[in-house]
């Protein structure tokens, strides 16, 4: 995508977003009390959010058991943090932080580097 295509992309996204926010003010005043509109408002969002979560998961790398395990643990931590504490920032930063640490520290060189001071301490004690 070139820079000018990116402009178009954001304008399209802006139009779609504005439409969702402006629709009730422009056209929905007569629809607001229809039962099916209420029903959609109540029951559709958790379905769509699950779809979007799956979409987000599919953008992550899945090249082995490690990837899948890291993703599953990070997702479980995010869900549990939010279920218990209900602080969006804590849940998002907690889950994402865990995933970032897991992704960046998984190469063995850096894990060995982390282990060196522990080895040194170990040798000094014994």
């Amino acid at each position: 995508m070139s820079s000018s295509e990116l402009w178009v992309f954001f304008v399209v996204m802006a139009a779609a977003t504005f439409l969702t926010r402006a629709l009730p003010f422009i056209a929905m005043q007569g629809l607001a009390d229809r039962p099916w509109v209420h029903y959609l408002g109540q029951h559709l969002p958790p379905l769509l959010m699950a779809v979007l979560m799956i979409y987000g998961l599919m953008t992550l790398p899945f090249e082995g058991v490690g990837d899948g395990l890291l993703t599953a643990i990070s997702l479980a931590v995010t869900l549990c943090l939010h279920w218990v504490w209900r602080q969006p920032l804590l849940s998002i930063l907690g889950g994402t932080g865990l995933y970032v640490v897991g992704t960046q520290w998984r190469d063995w060189d850096s894990i060995e580097r982390l282990l060196v001071p522990i080895q040194v301490m170990f040798l000094q004690v014994f």
């Binding site: 003010f25 379905l47 769509l48 979560m53 979409y55 869900l79 939010h82 994402t96 995933y99």
Partner: protein
Amino acid sequence: MTDRHPASAAFRDSAPVFFGYLPLGIAFGVLFATLGYAWWFAPLAGILVYAGSAQFLAVALIAAGAGLVETFLATFLLNARHIFYGMSVLNRYPARGWLRWYLMFGLTDETYALVTSQTVGAPGTGDAYYGYLTAFNQSYWVLGCAVGAALQSALAFDASGFEFALVALFAVLWVEQLRRVTEWKLLLGGVGASLGFAVWLGADFLLPACALCLVVTLLWQRRAYVIQ
């Protein structure tokens, strides 16, 4: 307090949103900058689009080279919850004028939460107050987007793994919605079918799965209606 200035009242009331929007905006900015575009596109998105979850989705859509129709529909469905926000603030917002359009544009989840936490017609909650509130909130978001993207462009630190923020954001919104779920069979069926679509169609499953959820929910509502 009847004598407080709308701007200072809005500034004080918007403080919690500052602490929410700034880090989330920074996360978006960092993630966006990894795509390799000029850093100022991130605050531009905050000014033009001004929708947190849609902007995070944008990073995934841009990386996947998604088409404009897909982008429009996915954004519309993602933000469709705002339709129901608008319905419940119709009686608060001014009936005409440019401010009405700006307030409609800026009706994010957090702004909606702040606006509806004020009693209708309470002292100091007129059009000016809502205007300042919306503008303060958007300025925090744009600031976060700019800081994140500028930081990442300048320092180019290892941002691998940041893409999980999109999943985490949707997971948080999902948990909030799960607390209110009453139709568990509908939810399980819809999520199961969407997972099936995801396995079957890969990354192209987004639109079919959203459409399926819409149809299934409407059919489920008809069924409930017939049984009654």
